[in-house]
Symmetry: C2
Subunit: 256 residues, 2 copies
């Protein structure tokens, strides 16, 4: 009998998140599932690692085909701890999500969900991040299930090119408006314009919160933002070599 | 008289770091300097933002051509706050560093230093990260000065291509071994292999620290790691479009 794959599941919304539980349950169709979740919400923590504080790992559940652990760290820590402390060998796949909120476009840069995926990719493990454009705690993920299963099956069967992982995003659930399909996309050009909310604490001291407005500066019809807007799921093949090869020759005059 | 440029200086080693002070002082040759520093050491915090805690900003110094602020956040917060709360308009340049420790190769992915640079780049501001391969609090930066001045002047004079920033690294200072020159490089393929240090706290409970060993899996002579090893400064032109364009056609079968 063929060995069932081991799938590591993580995300950045904390261990109580609906999306995390849903993804873990979906993955049980394919093999042994090991969940390593952040204890707290760690959204927008990018590729943060916990090196200034000690880490503690708690085991929640352990059966033959399902294990769940909670770590007081970030998604990147969860991936590292999963690979090298919990499992005896690297998993066959890492999936991160289902994230409550979009990681399309330049959101990928801030994303803890995708940081865990990129960490796996650096270790040579096939990895996929799944996110839905809905920040609500009670977000509806019904429309994403079958696409998550299809994409995961394909990656388990065929693998991924070396150094490449997938950033998969779904539009927000809309009753009577099923997703039209899946598009392979490039990351749309966009940025966050900050909005600061200034307040005074009860002691009269100033503090503020960072919020922001997402500004898309890209008219392309081949982007993830465009696909989502038109009710398609988007897949951006994503890599971690950030060298800007196309302009390297412009810098020759810097050499000496 | 031509307006002198405004240069925002930040980094992730905290406001007491020698490298930050050194970079700020060097930049005073070019224009008005505004330093926005993290209060604490925020190494390996990647593109982390502070959205779960309130932020507080303190002003340390303010003269006509030099201002310094300290923020209880991450380098990305420092960039955002500098651009949109402190300055009346975007600066002409953001520089981040001088970092105590290398940001070459895949270290760029974990780097707070480079996260601030990438944040600036997303806002269309020319930006450069400077790092030296020496983690010591009292690291010697003498050998880097003239290269930092040269590279900064060139970027102030000529700008940078849209969507591209620079990741500049210097080898560790070595007496009698001046840097041989500057190489334009690609980001070397490498990864961190984790080493976990398990301990018990005074209450008998388990905790652990993440450490690691950096494993370079790249024999290329065109990489930043190779340049540094051969006592050159490395410049990697870096972008924030992580789309793996070269393999996009391999994913056509995912579309539906």
């Amino acid at each position: 009998m063929e060995k069932r794959p081991t799938i590591l599941v993580t995300n950045d919304d904390g261990y109580l998140a609906k999306g995390l539980k849903r993804l873990a349950n979906l993955m049980r169709q394919f093999g042994k599932v090991v969940v390593v979740s952040t204890e707290q919400v760690k959204s927008a923590q990018g590729h943060s690692m916990t090196i200034n504080e000690p880490l503690r790992l708690r085991q929640f559940e352990k059966t033959d085909d399902f294990e769940m652990y909670v770590l007081n760290g970030c998604p990147v820590d969860c991936a590292k701890v999963g690979f090298q402390m919990i499992l005896d060998e690297y998993p066959d796949l890492l999936v991160s999500g289902i994230n409550h909120g979009s990681n399309a476009s330049t959101n990928v840069i801030y994303s803890g969900t995708m940081a865990a995926v990129i960490e796996a990719c650096m270790d040579g493990i096939p990895a996929i991040g799944f996110s839905v454009e809905d920040y609500a705690f009670d977000a509806n993920f019904d429309h994403a299930d079958k696409y998550i299963l299809d994409i995961t099956k394909k990656v388990l069967d065929e693998g991924l090119p070396k150094g490449v992982c997938l950033n998969v995003n779904f539009p927000k659930f809309s009753e009577g408006n099923p997703i039209k399909g899946v598009k392979i996309c490039r990351q749309a050009k966009a940025r966050w314009k900050e909005i600061f909310d200034h307040r005074k604490d009860p002691h009269g001291r100033d503090y503020f919160w960072i919020g922001g407005e997402f500004i898309v500066e890209d008219d392309g019809t081949d982007t993830d933002v465009y696909a989502l807007k038109n009710n398609y799921a988007s897949i951006v093949p994503t890599h971690y070599d950030w060298t800007a090869y196309d302009v390297m020759n412009k810098f020759k005059s810097f050499e000496k």
